[in-house]
């Protein structure tokens, strides 16, 4: 599977086709995006559970997440290991798949679901307490990597569930996400050094 993914991914990113959202879905998405707090800088925590089909038990991790409109996403794992990654649309490094999957994730963290219309079928529900957006790939190329992405939230994104085509599932809970000033020392620290891969 990895080979096929990479072959389909080498040289380019995911495949947004040319279909547009239906008007009803557009309205719902617009409402959800309006509900979301879209500060240029946000800081919070995360808890993640990753279930890989080859592993006997899920991988649990937690840490600090920082969202920057300009600099991307800082993902600092504090437990069970210490690691730090910064996701950017034009990232560095040799891992094409990991680099390219950052693109839809970045848009999701920014609450910019409309931008993913080219990549995914987007279905959205806007309830009183919570909203939910489900993304399913529109093309085979995307479908070879991602099975679906489900996002829930209210004023902020609360949960992202990324189901990969190889049955791996990553569930991310975003906790205590709040808008911060650009000069917030903790926020600054998250982007002060490039993450190592």
């Amino acid at each position: 599977m990895g080979a096929r993914w990479l072959i389909l991914w080498v040289g380019f990113c995911l495949c947004p086709p040319l279909l547009a959202l239906e008007p009803q879905q557009q309205r719902v998405l617009a409402q959800i995006e309006a509900r979301l707090e879209k500060a240029p800088q946000m800081l919070g925590r995360f808890e993640q559970k990753k279930t890989l089909p080859q592993l006997p038990r899920p991988l649990l991790s937690s840490g600090v997440v920082a969202l920057s409109r300009d600099q991307g996403i800082s993902w600092r794992v504090q437990k069970p290991i210490a690691s730090h990654r910064i996701l950017k649309a034009a990232g560095t490094g040799d891992d094409v798949l990991a680099r390219q999957i950052a693109v839809p994730l970045l848009q999701i963290f920014r609450g910019n679901f409309s931008a993913l219309d080219g990549l995914f079928h987007v279905s959205a529900e806007n309830g009183d307490d919570q909203w939910q957006v489900k993304l399913t790939p529109k093309t085979e190329a995307v479908g070879n990597v991602i099975a679906s992405i489900e996002v829930r939230g209210d004023r902020d994104i609360k949960q992202i569930r990324l189901a990969e085509a190889n049955s791996a599932v990553t569930e991310m809970q975003l906790l205590e996400l709040r808008a911060v000033d650009e000069s917030n020392p903790q926020f600054e620290a998250e982007f002060s050094a490039e993450a190592t891969e």
């Binding site: 990895g2 080498v10 040289g11 086709p17 649309a89 891992d95 798949l97 080219g118 990553t170």
Partner: protein, 758 residues
């Protein structure tokens, strides 16, 4: 000599020229690669083959970039599709490539190389394994606990080492809209359409289908709030060809019309002009035949210069024509001594060039020497019979103001002194811009496109040779190591080499050992147990990862390799194997601090400039030799004193021309020097005719000189108006030189009205 005998001799000589050429004729006798003029020592067949392969890749290739400033990928992709359709139906375009449809090739390459994953490494991973293998474990743990660890193969490629290897190297960083990759640079999105242009049609009507298509499509793009940028050699070829055609029509048409009118006014007949043109044509034909017979081939530059210099033959023709205009019955012996001395001095000078070991000079020497003989024979053998003119007296010389003889010598001395004072200010300059300066609109497109897409290869590249592909890869690897260091220091943006993707076997073995050791380390076992595998499961997985080394040959890989790599391979022959290493974003040279066996930097523009400089210097140094030969020949006929007076005219004209060109701020190039050679030849003819002119012939001789000078000015001097710097330089130097020569010859007649010069 009886007319029939003259014709017989002429036909016999023409047949001899033709026969000799026919015996030695070979296709491809006219060369266009300027680097062949550098001599064999500096030009290897492999380098020529490499350049031809690169040229083939470039020729016909036109890149269209559609840019959206508003960042709307959907609209841009749709517009790109529409653009491609428009290009597809255009007669100016023969091939198109704009969609992503090459996954089969990647799949084949993956299938071939994946079984070698135990020995293939990306550069960054090799460095990590050599220096900090533990970081590889940490990197992968971070990826696993990160949010985007897509497609991990924990059994066969647990550290994504092969994945990194396979996806390393230059590649598009694009999003795909349908089948169209859309790339981004800052806020701007852009797509690329690679096309092959139909060959530029030369001759006939001036046509610029590609430039017209570009203009129409740019308007179409503007209407959609998009920008269309276009680059490619065919655009420049078409622009240059159209410009040259316009110039030929304008300048050529003007000069031919002016020469015809002049001939009609002066000779009251077109026959002298037709015969003169015929004589020059015979000269050019004779020159070509002699070069083919004696040298086998010639360069187009030697052909152009040679053809031009053979135009000197018009001096003989007009001298003969004017002599026959005299009221007295013309006799050959009145004119033959001057014509013969002019021919012998010029021929010996040019044949002396043929004795040098330099291809351009050899070819020009043989061409012009043999060409002048052919033209001269045409004049003296055919003109007496074919030329019919009404005789009439002339009093041209009598109209000139009478000057003291010293004025002529003062003028010569002044020109010589002026030229000598200018010599220290002389500057030289030869580069490709002499041949062609890109127009602003194409240069602007190229500049903007390069800023958005900075990964276009440089014209310079490394040529690597080896006895076999193993040695070639080993040499490439040494080169790649040096280039990596330069890339890290910022001297180079990037490079592309076969050995980056397919390292030499020694390196593959070393990489295999690195990975073998790594997979046998406790940290890797710990990686698996940390993820929840039992120690036994971990050991089983690791045993499978420590696979034996596998052999794969370069030719086997090349069969499935992508074009970006297979284009670098030049193949093997009896002399060995060769490949190219492409360079991107060259900011500093030299790139190599020390030479590497079998590795050579090829920089075609610089090489061409160097060859032009070399040929210019050679011609400049040989001008004194020409002067000495002419002086000796003339002295043998006229005596030393008169020889000095004769040679003084062309020498003063040449030095004066050089001085004026230098004073005008021009950097002297090969084309100036070729013009100076012609000025010297013209000067010798005018001086010989002037000095050997009898008392009753002076006005007719002056008329012949004036006619020859004015036609030279009209024929070649007008080239000074050309937009091509090389041609303009040639024309300007020739115009200045011809005016000076004409003025000096006129001055000579103004002071030489008394006595017989013969």
């Amino acid at each position: 000599m009886a007319p029939k005998l003259r014709f017989a001799v002429w036909f016999a000589v023409a047949a001899a020229y033709a026969l000799a050429a026919a015996v030695r004729y070979q296709s491809g006798w006219l060369q266009t690669d300027i680097l062949t003029l550098a001599g064999d020592a500096e030009r290897s067949p492999v380098a020529a083959a490499a350049q031809q392969k690169l040229n083939r890749q470039l020729q016909g290739s036109v890149l269209w970039m559609l840019v959206s400033a508003q960042g709307d990928g959907d609209t841009l992709a749709a517009a790109t599709q529409a653009l491609a359709e428009k290009l597809r139906v255009s007669a100016a375009i023969t091939g198109l490539e704009y969609r992503w449809a090459d996954s089969t090739r990647f799949e084949n390459e993956w299938t071939l190389l994946f079984p070698l994953r135990q020995q293939l490494l990306a550069g960054r991973d090799r460095k990590l394994l050599e220096e900090q293998p533990q970081q590889l474990v940490e990197r992968q743990l971070a990826a696993l606990y990160g949010p985007e660890s897509a497609g991990l193969d924990l059994q066969r490629d647990p550290f994504a080492i092969f994945r990194h290897y396979f996806s390393s190297g230059p590649q598009l960083d694009a999003q795909l809209y349908g089948e169209i990759p859309v790339q981004q640079n800052g806020e701007q999105l852009f797509t690329l359409v690679q096309s092959t242009a139909a060959p530029v049609a030369l001759g006939g009507r001036i046509r610029t289908p590609l430039l017209q298509l570009r203009s129409e499509l740019q308007s179409w793009a503007r209407e959609r709030k998009l920008t269309l940028l276009t680059v490619g050699a065919p655009l420049h070829t078409e622009y240059a060809a159209a410009g040259a055609q316009r110039e030929i029509r304008l300048i050529g048409g003007l000069s031919i019309a002016a020469i015809c009118v002049l001939s009609l006014l002066v000779f009251r007949s077109l026959r002298p002009l037709m015969l003169s043109v015929f004589a020059i044509g015979c000269g050019i034909g004779g020159g070509i035949a002699a070069v083919i017979a004696l040298l086998g081939q010639m360069h187009i530059l030697a052909f152009v210069f040679g053809t031009t210099v053979t135009g000197l033959a018009i001096d003989y023709a007009f001298h003969f024509v004017c002599n026959r205009m005299r009221p007295v019955h013309g006799r050959d012996r009145d004119i033959l001594p001057g014509l013969l001395l002019g021919l012998v001095s010029s021929c010996l000078a040019f044949f002396a060039l043929a004795l040098t070991p330099f291809p351009l000079l050899q070819q020009m020497g043989v061409f012009v020497g043999a060409g002048l003989i052919a033209a001269w024979l045409t004049v003296v053998l055919l003109f007496p019979t074919l030329l019919k003119l009404r005789r009439r007296p002339l009093a041209l010389v009598e109209c000139l103001p009478r000057l003291r003889p010293s004025r002529y010598f003062i003028a010569l001395a002044l020109l010589l002194v002026f030229g000598a004072t200018m010599l220290p200010r002389i500057e030289f300059g030869d580069d490709l811009q002499l041949f062609y300066t890109p127009p602003q609109f194409l240069a602007a497109d190229e500049d903007r496109l390069n800023r958005l897409l900075p990964s276009r290869p440089e014209s310079a590249y490394f040529l690597v040779r080896g006895e076999d592909w193993q040695q070639l890869l080993a040499r490439e690897w040494i080169l790649a190591r040096a280039l990596r260091a330069k890339r890290d220091s910022g001297a180079l943006d990037d490079f592309q080499a076969l050995s980056q993707r397919f390292p030499p076997q020694r390196v593959q073995r070393a990489d295999w050992q690195l990975l073998h050791d790594f997979y046998g380390s406790a940290s890797v076992e710990g990686f698996y147990t940390r993820l929840g595998y039992s120690a036994e499961e971990a050991r089983a997985l690791l045993a499978d990862l420590r696979r034996p080394f596998r052999q794969l040959t370069l030719p086997e890989w090349l069969e499935v390799a992508g074009r970006q790599y297979s284009d670098l391979w030049l193949g093997c022959d009896k002399g060995g194997c060769a490949s190219i290493v492409r360079l991107y974003g060259l900011h500093q040279s030299p790139l190599l601090n020390e030479s590497i066996d079998g590795v050579q930097l090829v920089d075609p523009p610089r090489a061409i400039a160097a060859v032009m400089s070399q040929q210019r210097d050679l011609l400049l140094r040989l001008l004194p030799l020409v002067l000495v030969v002419v002086s000796v020949v003339v002295a043998l006929r006229t005596g030393a004193r008169r020889a000095l007076a004769i040679v003084g005219l062309p020498l003063a004209a040449l030095v004066g021309t050089l001085g004026i060109v230098v004073l005008g701020g021009a950097a002297i190039n090969l084309f100036h020097v070729a013009a100076l050679l012609l000025v010297f030849g013209i000067g010798v003819d005018y001086a010989v005719f002037s000095q050997l002119s009898g008392p009753g012939e002076r006005s007719h001789t002056l008329l012949a000189i004036a006619m020859a000078g004015v036609t030279t000015l009209l024929g070649f001097g007008l080239l000074a108006l050309s937009a091509t710097p090389a041609i303009a330089d040639f024309g300007l130097a020739l115009a200045v030189g011809t005016i000076l020569t004409l003025s000096l010859a006129t001055l000579f007649f103004a002071q030489a009205v008394e006595g017989d010069n013969r």
